[in-house]
């Protein structure tokens, strides 16, 4: 699946997007963040405060317990500050 990162999540990872295929045991957004945090130190730093990070699946906001099955694009970002 395609993963997108914005604002300080993007900065901490040093990349705006990538394609990754998590194992089938990773079922929810929350679990995906835990899995990503376990990849290496850079991911661990980006996702260390996972509770404040928001997620969207296919351009819609989702909660941490949202299933990721069938997702084409998942984005992670801090709380929004537009307007």
């Amino acid at each position: 699946m395609k993963l997108l990162y914005f604002a300080w999540v993007r900065e901490r990872l040093g990349k705006a997007e990538e394609r990754l295929d998590p194992p089938a045991s990773v079922a929810t957004v929350d679990e995906l963040m835990t899995w990503l945090a376990g990849r290496d130190e850079q991911y661990a730093h980006a996702f260390e405060n996972a509770k404040v990070i928001r997620a969207a699946i296919d351009h819609r906001h989702v909660r941490p317990d949202a299933p990721i099955a069938g997702a084409r694009e998942i984005a992670f970002f801090p709380p929004m500050t537009g307007g």
Partner: protein, 160 residues
Amino acid sequence: MSATIRLQREAFDVAAETAAMTRDRTDIGAVVTFTGICRADENGAEIAALTLEHYPGMAEAEIARHVEEASARWRLLGVRVIHRYGRIEPGEVIVLVATASSHREAAFAAASFIMDYLKTRAPFWKLVETSAGTDWVEAKAEDEAAAKRWSGAPPEKERP
């Protein structure tokens, strides 16, 4: 209801955008506009500029969903939302929300509703540039509270 949603890097003319909403129409009795402008300070510190990052595709979709919800709640005759991204200096316009209706109540309420959701739900992030470097703006609890006041049962649509 005609809605125009635009995200762009370039500056725009608020008066021209507003005038375009009522051109050749005599059914509109009220237009409310909100213009968001880049201030020269953020939490007491002087800033050189803001850089707005956004999520292309989702930003348009999210704004469109809230515009649609606004038009389900209030009798609107037009909505125009223009949001800039990229580097913006103090004094420059960041965002325009304009709502048109036959009467003022719907236009005022819908503009406020759309703006509150734009602040908390539209995927934009502000990076502040100061003499000390750059820093991401933190989301404000009062913006979240402002958006929450609209949740619950929507009111009856305004009479025609």
